[in-house]
């Protein structure tokens, strides 16, 4: 019966592919039987009206499929959605403010010229593309964290109240902070690998605003090192999120990453020119290097001084 075929196909569209064929076969068999039973009761052959009645009683295809689905069918679940919404609410005004400031500076530079809507159009385009780029990265990160936390719960053992951290736990993580770190790492990795021309200095000419690329093509020689660091930092943040707290092992891994970060900075600073304004760029990197060394020392001190860890901070 054509209506049943359409219904079964529609339900199948909302099901995971590994379940689809089996559920469709069973559903078709059950619906056909149900319609034939109705026909026997009504004392007439099965027709479109009886099929319509049976399908209406069965329910909306999407709802029926959701009852078959073994796991929640969402990208970002109710636990992370409020944080996601907050992150988006913060991101959009920041991007708008950045674009607005650049537009105002541009207008200031063009004082005396006849008024034009071109800068406004360019700023709108720039705002929309930045929102799409950042929203994409952010959604990807949240979806990844959602999956990571679902898997952890799936294999989780019985909860033990003794594992509750103290009220002022220095090992407690900020979900927002960790997710923001993931977002930054992903955004930087995408930017340096696929849009290196966007990394630069914004300058204002008499006629236009443009970005002067900061990275020379020779900078690509450092990408394998940077990508390794980003991948490791991304993985560490995911592990910390899964564990919902800092542990001794992740603290040591964090320290190792900080040292690795310092080594990369040192290699770039000591290496051949790779920036458009090499002297200034390397001066900034030297400041970052000093910060990285201080940070690593502080982390090492914390790890060595806090030798005994509480039972809830199992490694």
């Amino acid at each position: 019966m054509e209506l049943v075929d359409r219904y079964v196909h529609e339900v199948g569209q909302y099901l995971p592919s590994r379940l689809r064929a089996d559920v469709e076969a069973e559903l078709r068999s059950l619906l056909t039987e149900s319609i034939e039973e109705r026909a026997r009761t009504a004392g007439r052959p099965a027709d479109a009206q009886l099929a319509t009645d049976a399908l209406r009683e069965f329910g909306v295809p999407r709802d029926v499929a959701s009852r078959y689905a073994p796991e929640p069918q969402y990208l970002i679940g109710p636990r992370l959605y409020p944080t996601y919404r907050t992150a988006v609410k913060i991101m959009i005004p920041i991007l708008a403010a950045v674009v607005l400031v650049l537009m105002v500076i541009g207008q200031f530079q063009h004082q005396g010229e006849p008024p034009s809507i071109a800068p406004f159009i360019r700023a709108t385009e720039s705002f929309l593309s930045s929102v799409l780029f950042n929203l994409g990265v952010m959604t990807f990160i949240f979806a990844l964290v959602e999956r990571a936390m679902q898997n952890r719960e799936a294999v989780g053992t019985a909860w033990d109240p003794a594992t509750l951290p103290p009220v002022n736990d220095p090992d407690r993580i900020s979900y927002f902070g960790r997710i923001f770190a993931l977002y930054l790492i992903a955004a930087l990795a995408l930017l340096f690998n696929f849009f290196p021309e966007w990394v630069g200095v914004v300058v204002f000419h008499n006629t236009d605003t443009q970005v002067i690329p900061l990275l020379e093509p020779a900078f690509a020689r450092y990408l394998p090192l940077l990508n390794t660091w980003w991948a490791l930092a991304f993985a560490l943040n995911l592990v910390v999120l899964r564990q919902s707290q800092w542990r001794r092992t992740t603290r040591w891994a964090d320290l190792a990453l900080e040292v690795f970060n310092g080594v990369i900075l040192l290699v770039i600073v000591a290496g051949p020119p790779v920036f458009a304004y090499d002297m200034w760029a390397k001066l900034v990197l030297q400041v970052f290097l000093v910060i990285s060394v201080i940070k690593a020392c502080a982390m090492l001190y914390r790890l060595l001084v806090r030798r005994t860890f509480e039972p809830w901070a199992r490694s």
């Binding site: 076969a25 069973e26 559903l27 149900s34 069965f58 029926v64 009852r67 078959y68 073994p70």
Partner: protein, 113 residues
């Protein structure tokens, strides 16, 4: 009128919630003998428990996924049918749930007298 509809919907939701737990017990108990989806629906309806097909059939799949039911396809009267039966784990759980149900029914019965 709006208040009336809200109360009706609330009653329906609470009633559904009340039935949801009982449904698993009813299905596991009836599936001590092999049945396919439609025959199980009729069997339960004949005993006074009406269940929407859109609720019952997905429930069977979920219980099977949890290892409480086992199933196999068979062709009968020229029609392929998937037959379900409670697994050993499902039968054990049905007995435990039945004991829990008896106890709860006794307590609630005494409370609402």
């Amino acid at each position: 009128m709006v208040m009336g509809n809200t109360q009706l919907s609330l009653r329906e939701n609470l009633s559904l919630e009340l039935r949801r737990g009982a449904l698993v017990l009813a299905v596991l108990t009836e599936l001590r003998h092999e049945e396919y989806g439609y025959s199980l629906k009729k069997l339960l309806a004949d005993k006074g428990l009406e269940i929407d097909e859109g609720t019952l059939y997905p429930l069977l799949r979920r219980l099977e996924g949890q290892g409480l039911l086992k199933s196999d396809w068979r062709v009968e009267d020229g029609r392929p049918r998937r037959y379900y039966r409670a697994s050993a784990q499902g039968e054990k759980l049905a007995r435990e749930l039945a004991a829990e149900w008896q106890k709860l029914a006794g307590v609630i019965g005494a409370l609402i007298k």
